[in-house]
């Protein structure tokens, strides 16, 4: 006779992963003349005859009704075997039997147990709650879930949380007061002792199991997050880095193009590694984005240094746009590969400097119709109440200073 741990040799279908030892699972085996199939399932699982199991249930039922309860519990929790035929008892009859059993159980509990007066009302309340929950729409359920999440840790602005905290505290105090006022203390002491002993026993028995389950859940979640991140990074590397490397190989004859590609890729990787630098409405990000665009468009590198930060205003947006224009000018005309961009937020103004060591030019000699410096830089800044200084001499580079007062 195979032992209880025998597996695979008596036709029980296992859904376990094939690489591990397949463990037989306990199923109900309903047949044509046994609607529940509890005894048959257990018998098959532990490998004894069905009759013995049935006799066991009857013996237990005779000794205080435990057998009936066990049988019912098994019926409820055990899944029917996947290959089991559907029982010939019609579905409505099963529901009727279940309903009758439930009514009988409720009635029995109500008339035998202490505190039984509240049992039936509580059950009805639970049923009503379940009914409401089933009828509710998804947004309503969401809202309920949200407001039931916080009580002790409720924020100051979470009114529901605080109300619930107060109501719960009031109920606990009231319950305690009632018990103290009318209870018979020696009886309560025995009852409390029994409850405490039971709770401690349960904790000892199931504690390790809970701990293990929590640890496993945590580990699983961590692993899932890690593999998700790995997949993201792999996708990113494939989309950008490998593409760029391919482009660099094809453009290896042109150092300028290679620099541009490498620089752009470097910036992108930095963004991935150290957090995103996108347009966020802050001056520093705006300037960094502008510098990155100029780097990409003109194959130069912009050494960007920003000290302090402040939210963009119209004036500062104009200053950033003018700074971008100055970078473009340096990239196009100075004949250098590196341009410095420095911005500092002072208490009363923002200063931005764009400096190159390129060919420089004579400011007075620039044709008056040239839009670059006069229109896009000086005019734009002065309209917003700032001022611009351009210092340049042929042969010694150019520095544009933009100063924009903070309102």
């Amino acid at each position: 006779m195979p032992g209880p741990c025998a597996y695979g040799d008596h036709g029980v279908v296992s859904t376990a992963v094939p690489t591990t030892r397949t463990t037989a699972r306990l199923f109900r085996r309903p047949g044509s003349w046994r609607p529940a199939g509890v005894a048959a399932g257990i018998a098959e699982h532990i490998g004894v005859r069905v009759l013995l199991v049935r006799l066991g249930f009857i013996a237990l039922a005779a000794a205080g009704g435990l057998g009936v309860a066990l049988y019912g519990a098994y019926w409820i929790v055990l899944p029917p075997a996947p290959d089991a035929p559907r029982s010939r008892v019609p579905l409505w009859l099963e529901y009727l039997l279940a309903g009758l059993a439930a009514v009988a159980a409720v009635g029995g509990v109500t008339y035998t147990m202490p505190l039984s007066g509240v049992f039936a009302p509580t059950l009805l309340a639970c049923l009503g709650g379940a009914l409401i929950w089933r009828q509710a729409t998804e947004p309503e359920r969401d809202r309920w879930r949200r407001i039931s999440r916080t009580s002790l840790s409720a924020d100051h602005d979470d009114r529901m949380g605080r109300i619930r905290l107060a109501a719960g505290a009031a109920l606990v105090v009231a319950g305690g007061a009632i018990v103290l006022a009318r209870a018979n203390f020696s009886a309560i002491r025995d009852g409390l002792l029994a409850v405490v002993v039971t709770v401690v026993g349960m904790a000892l028995l199931t504690g390790p199991w809970w701990m293990r389950m929590m640890t496993q859940l945590g580990a699983e979640r961590g692993e899932r997050i890690r593999s998700q991140e790995r997949a993201d990074i792999a996708a990113h590397l494939h989309d950008s880095v490998l593409q760029t490397l391919a482009l660099i190989q094809r453009n290896s004859g042109s150092p300028r193009e290679v620099t541009r590609l490498a620089r752009g890729q470097e910036r992108e990787l930095r963004t991935l590694l150290y957090g995103s630098r996108t347009a966020s409405g802050q001056l520093a990000d705006e300037l960094r984005v502008a510098a990155a665009e100029v780097e990409d468009a003109y194959a130069i590198s912009v050494e960007t240094v920003v000290v302090g930060d402040v939210a963009l205003t119209d004036g500062l947006a104009a200053a950033a746009a003018a700074a971008r224009e100055a970078l473009v000018n340096a990239a196009k005309h100075a004949g250098v590969t590196v341009v410095s961009l420095y911005a500092e937020v002072e208490p009363d103004a923002v200063s931005i400097f764009i400096k190159d060591r390129g060919v420089g030019f004579d400011l007075d000699a620039v044709a008056p119709d040239r839009q670059g410096v006069r229109g896009s830089i000086i005019g734009r800044i002065e309209r917003h109440g700032g001022d611009v200084k351009v210092r340049s001499q042929p042969g010694s580079g150019t520095e544009v200073e933009i100063r924009m007062p903070l309102q």
Partner: protein, 212 residues
């Protein structure tokens, strides 16, 4: 006489690239790929300047600095990094490095920086100058043990600002009508303040990154 330099970087490709670029402007006396190798190589070859990569396995440049700086105070360290992250740079400076440059620096600038560090000066990249200005900004300062180290003088602030704008020492001297030597003194003082300051921005950076 050329400066005796030791290259420390965990990428052999980068070391050979730097060696080739520097050519005979400096005398590369050795290379090391790990902090342990670097410590042994510094002890045996006694270079004047160590070009030190910030990011390496087994503790990075910081491990080398912490092991060697107290033992051989005459050896100068120039930190070299691909990282623009303030905390990396500040940690190495506070551990005793005499300057910081990024790996994209041109060969000429790198050779000049090495010579400068060997001569006892300090090297600020625009980025490092920006960090300094950021760290010493005039925000409320917690009461400190020695206020001398906790703020920059107006002149030092000006020098840092010009460095951040991309000026070379020579250009700063011309701009402020002072000698190059004076610019160098200001820069050295700022570096010392960076190392000794208890300003809460600096200590907070360090504490946040568990560098203390």
């Amino acid at each position: 006489m050329t400066t005796r330099v030791l290259l420390v970087d965990d990428h052999a490709m980068f070391r050979s690239g730097v060696r080739a670029e520097l050519g005979d402007r400096v005398d590369v006396v050795g290379e090391a790929g790990t902090p342990a190798e670097a410590i042994a190589a510094i002890r045996s070859s006694q270079p004047e300047v160590v070009l030190l990569d910030v990011h390496m396995p087994d503790g990075g440049g910081l491990a080398v600095l912490e092991a060697i700086a107290p033992e051989l105070p005459d050896i100068r360290f120039l930190a070299l990094s691909v990282s623009d992250a303030a905390e990396d740079v500040i940690a190495l400076i506070r551990a005793g490095a005499r300057g910081y440059v990024t790996k994209t620096i041109s060969a000429d600038d790198l050779a000049e920086a090495i010579t400068r560090v060997a001569g006892g000066d300090v090297v600020f990249s625009p980025l490092l100058a920006g960090f300094v200005l950021d760290a010493f900004r005039d925000s409320p300062v917690a009461p400190s043990v020695d206020p001398n180290f906790d703020q920059l003088t107006p002149r030092e602030r000006e020098v840092m600002r010009l460095l951040a704008r991309g000026y070379a020492y020579k250009e700063i001297a011309a701009e402020l009508f002072i000698s190059i030597k004076t610019v160098e003194t200001h820069a050295s003082n700022v570096l010392r303040k960076l190392q000794l300051s208890s300003r809460h921005q600096l200590t907070r950076w360090a504490a946040d990154r568990r560098m203390l």
